[in-house]
């Protein structure tokens, strides 16, 4: 297939090879080295998309990441990626791309009628048009907006590719590989320091491409020979953070049809740099004039890049509208390539550029401006008029209108590094000022323009960063003056866009100013100016200039919106990296996990832990059958539960007892060796933090357990007080949660069971009473036995070093065979604790006090401890606070729900809520725990538990939370 706009020679494309691709289903060919944009231009495709809001026809506007219009949906199926810039997509064989924002087709877009109702879609239209009537939002407005606006479509499927996360350190990071960046790398690399050079483009060189290829090639060869220099092409630094840390996205295989095996699609780099050299270059800006978005209007430097780099003519007959000589030089490249020249429109009265142009036989309309464009789906011409005159204008025929309003140095990353920006009169733009971090700027970002001058500036920066020698050979190429006449907008009636991607016009900015959104940050948000994928790289400053004029101020006095990451879009896949699915967070398995799997347990996630929820048996008809069977085994005979996930902290040292006395509401210094005690820990504000049992193993050695959820936070809390508040205490802490497996054996036959296997410890009630602790062995494995109970039954906890877990567990199971021992899971554990009225996470919820939960007597009267002072505040001791109570449905079979509110029957005022419910085994029907205002006084009364979410109301009795053995006799037999 022919490429009518391809030049016969020149550029970084390999004309010997053809690559086949489709755009909107239509087949085309291009060459290796092309971007999708250059290949489409070579094929004469001018219309590539519709605009975001107004659905106006749009063409390729630039040759880089600043592209506002040419956004494509790349690939299809699960690999479809919306909003990719055609100017950055490297062409490859079999590439599939589609235009966006058109329905039903690109040429016949019905929604371009939006242009006719454009007055309604003005600045702030979201806030105005769609406010009323309220009910219309979900049913009418939102679907309408979703159909008509919005960019491309996500695939909706799982991403089949994988992404890597990279960590890197270097002495000098150079961002950008144009003349300045390459020269800086050459100098910095020669110093021997570790240098990284990131370039967002696929090939290094930027403006050197098609200009000084010899210097570029020699420099790249020199850099490739330096082992201390890492070159990262296709890598965009998207954000600069504190302390010279930057994030970068490397597009590893985006230029291939599919990733080769074991190769990621993209890499997400975190780079910690000693010094940073910003050689980020500049983005050309356009000029606001009516219909400046017509397909065929293009940045002047980009039109030149298509010639120099891709050997592509962006049109047949070109004209230029520019306020600076550098753009003239780019335009001459078009003439030299054989593109027809219609002339140059220059708002300046006189310039060196105009003189040079006339010498080349080019018509120059000086002191003139473009006041409009002609054509519908493609540019047919531009209307030229003298500045200041109203009336006569000339329609000049052209299919390519190159525009340049000057350049905007790419200060984004420098500004994100907190380098203040300064106004540059010559460029009429912002440049980096004095950096705060160890950073440098070089080349056009530093207002040093022209290839040789930029390279010299890069060498200077490389030397400044490393102490190296800046004397290197310099490239040759464009030298033209980038000085501009301040000229932002052609002030005539019409749609003059300042943000082409977001369909923001100069009038929209003025409207925002009139309506009070005068601050640059407010105007930005009100109009969506600079909020697209291009982040206003080309037009941002133009909108600011229009706003400044509306305010009667200078553009440099109103500032710019804060630059934030990301400078270019970054995919979610790259951000997530390998942390997806099961790898999103670590999975913690207990030492007994394999046994649970073999036993057919159903597992539940509790934080990172995976714990058995229940152990279904073939005869069980539903989960309740299983849970009730397991819980009954505990109440009537014996059960065994893996409690290894409880936090365990080993506390040792001369002052261990004093330390625990200060951390807990109760006293541990009086605890005898070989005994355990239930402890309650408050936060400093008086609210309960955690609970658990603590055992004294020796005078100076305690073993603390915490709840599963708070294992980490309690350890951190203890470390804080030990290290920062009482550093004089002689105490050492070690988290031993994973080192010890633990199992609870509970039920009337618990002792009879473990007596068969525990050796070296007299387990009789007299010798080993409730809350006793002792060392023993099971099958030769060392164990610690604790006589503590969560279920309310006689119970023992056996802890053993994790490696012995299964041996000990199996020994106990075998010993319990005669009593039909059942393993029980989290569900049965929850049932048993609710029956017993033991509090857990739903009650220790960060809002409850000791007295709220009936634990007030655990607060010691003497001595300081964390939380003591503030726990006595009136708000925390108010008797009207919600208090822990038990509840039971009056009609026994009636289910109650956790989360239901408790109200006086016949009223709707919530007096409390239900924290946990279960079917009971000790008594019939449903029971639960609740936090209820004035709960103590309401015991024995009836209330309504209501769940408006489910439309349910259940009559319940208010009872003591201790449904089972309130005297606590069973644990002591």
């Amino acid at each position: 297939m022919s490429q009518p706009f391809r030049l016969p020679a020149g550029g970084h494309v390999d004309r010997a090879q053809n690559l086949a691709f489709t755009f909107d289903g239509k087949p085309f060919t291009g060459h290796p080295g092309d971007t999708l944009a250059s290949a489409l231009l070579a094929n004469g495709v001018r219309l590539v998309g519709r605009s975001f809001k107004l659905h106006r026809p749009r063409g390729i506007f630039s040759a880089g990441p600043e592209e506002p219009n040419a956004l494509a949906e790349m690939r299809d199926g699960a690999r479809r990626e919306p909003n990719t810039r055609m100017t950055q997509i490297e062409l490859h064989d079999g590439l599939v791309a589609a235009s966006q924002n058109r329905w039903p087709s690109l040429r016949w877009d019905l929604l371009s009628l939006n242009s006719l109702i454009a007055p309604v879609l003005s600045a702030g239209f979201y806030y105005k048009t769609f406010m009323w009537p309220a009910g219309f939002w979900e049913k009418v407005y939102e679907p309408l907006i979703r159909r008509s606006a919005g960019l491309g479509r996500a695939s909706g499927q799982n991403d089949p590719d994988f992404y890597e996360t990279m960590q890197a350190h270097c002495d000098v990071l150079i961002i950008g590989a144009g003349p300045a960046g390459l020269a800086a790398a050459r100098v910095a690399g020669a110093s021997g320091q570790r240098v990284m050079l990131c370039e967002q483009d696929s090939i290094l060189g930027a403006s050197l491409l098609g200009q000084d290829e010899a210097w570029r090639t020699a420099t790249l060869a020199a850099l490739a020979a330096m082992p201390n220099v890492t070159l990262l092409p296709r890598t965009n630094v998207f954000g600069a953070y504190d302390a010279n840390v930057v994030g970068a996205l490397e597009r590893v295989t985006d230029h291939m049809l599919a990733s080769p095996a074991h190769t990621p699609r993209q890499r997400y780099w975190t780079i910690r740099a000693g010094k940073i050299i910003h050689a980020t270059g500049a983005h050309e800006r356009f000029i606001a004039f009516p219909d400046n978005d017509r397909p065929g209007v293009m940045l002047a430097g980009s039109a030149a890049a298509y010639v120099r780099r891709f050997g592509v003519k962006a049109g047949r007959r070109a004209m230029l509208f520019a306020n600076n000589d550098a753009a003239f030089e780019d335009f001459f490249t078009l003439q030299d390539a054989g593109i027809g020249i219609a002339g140059i429109v220059d708002p300046r009265t006189d310039s060196a550029g105009a003189e040079a142009a006339r010498a080349r036989g080019i018509t120059v309309w000086a002191d003139s401006q473009v006041i409009g464009t002609a054509g519908t789906l493609a540019l047919q011409g531009a209307r030229v008029a003298r500045r200041g005159s109203s009336g006569t204008d000339t329609l000049v025929a052209a299919d390519l209108l190159c525009v340049s309003g000057g350049i905007n140095p790419a200060v984004q990353l420098a500004s994100q590094s907190r380098t203040p920006v300064e106004w540059n009169e010559r460029l009429q733009s912002w440049v980096p000022g004095t950096p705060i971090l160890p950073q440098f700027a070089a080349g056009s970002v530093n207002a040093v323009t022209g290839i040789a001058a930029a390279a010299a500036d890069g060498a200077r920066a490389g030397a400044a960063a490393t102490g190296g020698d800046a004397a290197i050979s310099l490239p040759t190429g464009a030298v033209a003056d980038a000085t501009v006449l301040p000229f932002w907008e052609v002030s005539v009636k019409g749609k003059s866009f300042v943000d082409i991607q977001d369909d923001v016009t100069a009038d929209d900015i003025r409207l925002a100013a009139r309506e009070g959104y005068k601050h640059i940050e407010h105007a930005k948000r009100y109009t969506t100016h600079t909020m697209g994928t291009d982040q206003g790289k080309s037009g941002g400053l133009i909108g600011a200039a229009v706003l400044a004029a509306a305010r009667g101020e200078r553009v440099q006095d109103i500032g710019m919106p804060t630059f934030r990451p990301f400078t270019q879009p970054v995919t979610w896949g790259a951000i997530a990296g390998p942390n997806i699915g099961k790898h999103f967070e670590p999975t913690r398995l207990t030492a007994l996990h394999d046994w649970h799997v073999r036993r057919g347990a159903e597992f539940m996630d509790t934080g990172a832990w995976v714990r058995p929820g229940l152990y279904p048996a073939p005869a069980d008809s539903d989960a309740w059958d299983t849970v009730l069977r397991e819980a009954r085994a505990v109440r009537r005979s014996v059960g065994i539960c893996d409690v290894s996930t409880l936090g365990k902290i080993d506390v040792q040292g001369k002052d261990a007892a004093v330390f625990l006395d200060r951390l807990y509401t109760n006293t541990f210094s009086t605890l005898p060796i070989g005994r355990a005690r239930y402890g309650l820990m408050l936060r400093e504000d008086g609210i309960i933090f955690d609970d658990g049992t603590t055992s004294r193993l020796a005078e100076d050695h305690f073993f603390v357990t915490t709840t599963t959820a708070n294992a980490g936070p309690v350890m951190q809390h203890m470390e804080f007080y030990l290290q920062t508040v009482w550093p004089d205490l002689d105490v050492t802490l070690a988290s031993v949660t994973d080192q010890w497996a633990a199992m609870s054996i509970a039920g009337p036959n618990a002792r009879a069971t473990i007596q068969k296997v525990v050796e070296g410890l007299d387990l009789s009630n007299e010798a080993f009473p409730f809350m006793a602790v002792g060392d023993a062995t099971v099958k030769g494995c060392p164990v610690r036995v604790f006589r503590i109970s969560f279920s309310g039954e006689m119970a023992y906890e056996i802890a053993t070093p994790a490696g012995f877990a299964e041996t000990v567990w199996q020994a106990v199971i075998d010993a319990g065979e005669a009593f039909r021992i059942e393993p029980y899971g989290l569900e049965a554990l929850g049932l048993l604790r609710i029956e017993k009225g033991h509090v857990a996470g739903s009650e220790l919820n960060g809002t409850t006090t000791a007295s709220d939960l009936g634990l007030g007597k655990m607060i010691k009267k003497r001595g300081d401890f964390v939380g003591r002072a503030l726990a006595s505040r009136p708000g925390l001791t108010d008797p009207g606070r919600p208090h822990l109570v038990g509840i039971r449905s009056v009609s026994r079979g009636e289910q109650i729900r956790a989360g239901s509110h408790l109200v006086e029957t016949g009223t709707t005022l919530s007096l409390g809520w239900i924290t946990g419910v279960t079917r009971a085994v000790e008594l019939d029907g449903w029971i639960g725990l609740a936090l209820l205002e004035g709960g103590e006084a309401r015991k024995g009364t009836r209330m309504t538990a209501t769940s408006p979410l489910h439309g349910e109301s259940v009559e319940v009795e208010i009872l003591s939370p201790h449904f089972v053995d309130p005297e606590n006799a069973r644990v002591r037999v």
């Binding site: 953070y241 504190d242 302390a243 840390v245 975190t270 910690r272 907190r418 705060i436 400093e684 504000d685 951190q716 470390e719 804080f720 290290q723 920062t724 508040v725 550093p727 001595g863 300081d864 002072a869 503030l870 006595s872 505040r873």
Partner: protein, 91 residues
């Protein structure tokens, strides 16, 4: 991302640490009045400028560190051990 030069482990990323808060407040003595504890728990200066903060090296040595950080610029000037009193720049 802030980089913290842990006196025990060397220069590390912020991601290894857990922020604990103001290190300029000290826990009142055992017999101090409720108001003193109120201030200890709730009253904070929230300065614009240099500040001393507790950072816990939770993914490292498990030590609490006193970090002298600028709240506007995030610059870290000094990283001291828990028992040390680091110098705080006047501005």
């Amino acid at each position: 991302m802030i980089r913290i030069d842990c006196p025990w482990c060397g220069m590390r990323d912020e991601a290894e640490f857990t922020y604990r808060g103001d290190a300029t407040v000290t826990r009142p003595g055992a017999n101090a009045p409720e108001e003193a504890f109120h201030d200890f728990v709730y009253a904070r200066k929230n300065p614009r400028g240099w500040h001393v903060e507790w950072w816990y090296h939770s993914s490292g040595c498990r030590q609490y560190l006193k970090v002298v950080r600028h709240t506007m610029t995030h610059e870290v000037r000094t990283v001291a051990r828990a028992t040390e009193t680091p110098e705080v720049p006047s501005e």
